[in-house]
């Protein structure tokens, strides 16, 4: 492969990875936008989504590649199932661990979020074991060759699903009544409630959607990597959070752009710096953005210092 082709290949790999990060990052950014909480457990919701997808696949009797048009149906069912399950899980977590602390000092729900993260990881570990579990190779994966550069059907699927989700989200947030309620609550909670918006339901809905998107990410992850592991949520979650911050926390378009950027950064770092330092590089980006430009690329100005 020529150096140019290598770069293009990494860009394509990075784009797929970035799409997954973007799906997860959307959940972080939506929740932060509406209640200013870093939902530490969100990455683990993504991980649970991948396991739910595994369960549903098993339930449908899928053990290998599905051929023909059935593959789209099967994948659709798994996708929707995962999204529903994680959406509900997100709502449950909000109700049990965050809502009671809505008026507590800001550190309190952050601490419970960490606790929830541990609980989710451990429960999945107990059920699924400490090692990676293989995920059936559901979809056939023909590739397109452009010179030496490979684009696989799976990568196209990821990009397609992500774009569809994000477009759906944009439509929902901008065009529907509930979406407007979400935006209003994020901007000024008191005014929104005075306008008759049910704050609790709106927040619950936000969690549902954000978590469902993470679930979609989990499904996509399982299909792409053919393996799911209880520890996936933590690292992927941190990187997706970095993406959300990079794009501008609270900003939906920012989460999408941030996700893609982090994915590209990761792919390029793995190729040109070192596989081993990829994580450290992403975290360094996180620190640098928070220290020097906490509002991110597209973010609104958020107060940097306390008080």
């Amino acid at each position: 492969m020529s150096p140019f082709e290598l770069v293009v290949q990494q860009l394509i790999n990075g784009l797929s990875l970035g799409a997954i990060y973007a799906l997860i990052a959307l959940g972080y950014t939506m929740v932060y936008g509406i209640i200013e909480l870093i939902n530490f457990a969100h990455g683990d919701v993504f991980m649970v989504g991948s396991f739910v997808a595994l369960l549903i696949a098993g339930g449908l009797g899928v053990t290998g590649t599905v051929s023909g048009p059935m593959v789209a149906v099967v994948m659709f069912v798994i996708l929707v199932g995962s999204m529903l399950a994680t959406g509900l899980l997100g709502m449950l977590i909000e109700r049990a661990a965050y809502r009671p602390l809505r008026h507590a000092p800001r550190l309190a729900p952050l601490i419970t979020a960490i606790g929830v993260s541990f609980i989710l990881q451990n429960v999945v570990q107990l059920r699924a074991g400490p090692s990676p579990v293989s995920f059936p190779d559901v979809m056939p994966n023909p590739v397109i060759l452009a010179g030496n550069v490979i684009i696989s059907a799976k990568q196209l699927m990821i990009i397609f699903v992500s774009i569809a989700m994000m477009a759906g989200l944009q439509w929902f947030v901008l065009k529907t009544r509930l979406g407007r309620a979400m935006r209003a609550t994020a901007q000024d909670r008191q005014a929104a409630s005075l306008m008759g918006i049910n704050i609790n339901s709106t927040i619950a809905l936000t969690f549902f959607i954000g978590s469902a998107l993470a679930g979609a990410g989990g499904f996509v992850f399982g299909v792409y990597y053919n393996s799911v592991w209880f520890i996936n949520g933590y690292i992927a979650g941190l990187k997706a959070f970095t993406a959300a911050v990079l794009g501008g926390i609270g900003n939906i378009a920012g989460a999408m752009i941030g996700g893609v950027l982090i994915g590209l950064l990761e792919a390029l770092s793995a190729q040109y710096v070192s596989e081993r330092y990829v994580d450290a590089i992403v975290f360094a980006i996180l620190i640098l953005v928070l220290v020097f430009r906490p509002s991110g690329l597209l973010g609104q100005h958020l107060p940097e210092s306390a008080g």
Binding site: E36, L37, I38, A97, P100, L101, A104, R106, L107, A108, P109, L110, I111, T112, I114, G115, V116, S117, F118, I119, Q121, N122, V123, Q125, L126, Y234, L238, F241, V245, S274, R276, Y277, D279, A280, F283, A284, L286, I287, L290, V291, P294, P303, E304, S305, A306, G307
Partner: protein, 376 residues
Amino acid sequence: MSEPAAVAKATMFPRFGSDLKSKALLGAVIVLAILYPILDSNASHVSSAADAGVFVLLALGLNIVVGYAGLLDLGYAAFFAIGSYAYGFLASPRFGIHLAFWLMLPIAGIIAAIFGIILGAPTLRLRGDYLAIVTLGFGEIVPVIFLNADKYTNGPNGINALDPPVVGSYNFGHNPLPYYFVVLFLIALIVIIIRRLRDSPLGRAWMAIREDEVAAAAMGIDTVKTKLFAFAIGASFSGIGGVVYSSKLGLVTPDNFRFSTSAFILSMVVLGGMGNIPGVILGAVILFELQSLILTQMTIWSHQLGAFTHIGFLDQLDFVNLKFLLYGLALVLMMLFRPEGLLPSARRRMELHATPEVAASESQELYDVSTEAQSA
């Protein structure tokens, strides 16, 4: 003591250990702690207790950062790593440097404090949740660096054959007993240091910042410097803990310093009571012994019960696997139901119970003119 000073002393908040009952309790605890290895001669128990003591040190250090200054540090284990590796570099065959254990204690403390300042200086002005994530990031980067800087750190295998501490001609070797006493001594020392700092302008500044940072700044407190102090001091205790831990283990690897360790220590502080010294010590001991002794013991009992009753699944139960579930539950349940911790400090107790005089004066609030309210 002049009369106003006596009054001043008397009106300060009651501290644990200031009245006879708690003095007696404290004395009993100290005596028990010193006699423990005699009461329980099982070497592995003593070893575990010494390790628990290290985590008590860590929890006390994190308590300053989280409990006093109100900063959520999610990367605290990084300083633990720095202290441990400092010992690995400077007291082992690795580079042929063999500084004494006793010298390494303050040296590691200073090194860790310096890193605390390096991390804190640009980041402490951030909001609480952002700061938490930044410290988390730092806490992830440090072990990765130690893991990958093979040339210095020997990568995943780490550095072994660390020098055991030596006093005169007595070499600690692999005997857990002297480590246990060293740890006890360090805990006592650190508790004294922390209490004296807490009862000083610095301690009040920490409290003020926790209460209302804007008002604290408006009263002349340099909030960044004050937070930095807490951060650096907390980091130094973590570094000191690292020296003790790695010298006792004889080995330092990148394994024990990830986020799970930071969160583990945080759980101790949350469980015990943020800002409360006896509480944090209790929380540390409980959680540490939980995972080192209690859970393993429960697993053994469960297997025995399973063998005895022929109930299959009991035989399979491994409670140690539930570790993180329990930490997670501790964090969630404590925050939801008992945020003041297992042992609420005297202050928090007062917060929750208004005294009778206060209740009376409140009812007369607006229209009673108190006779003292004269501008003399």
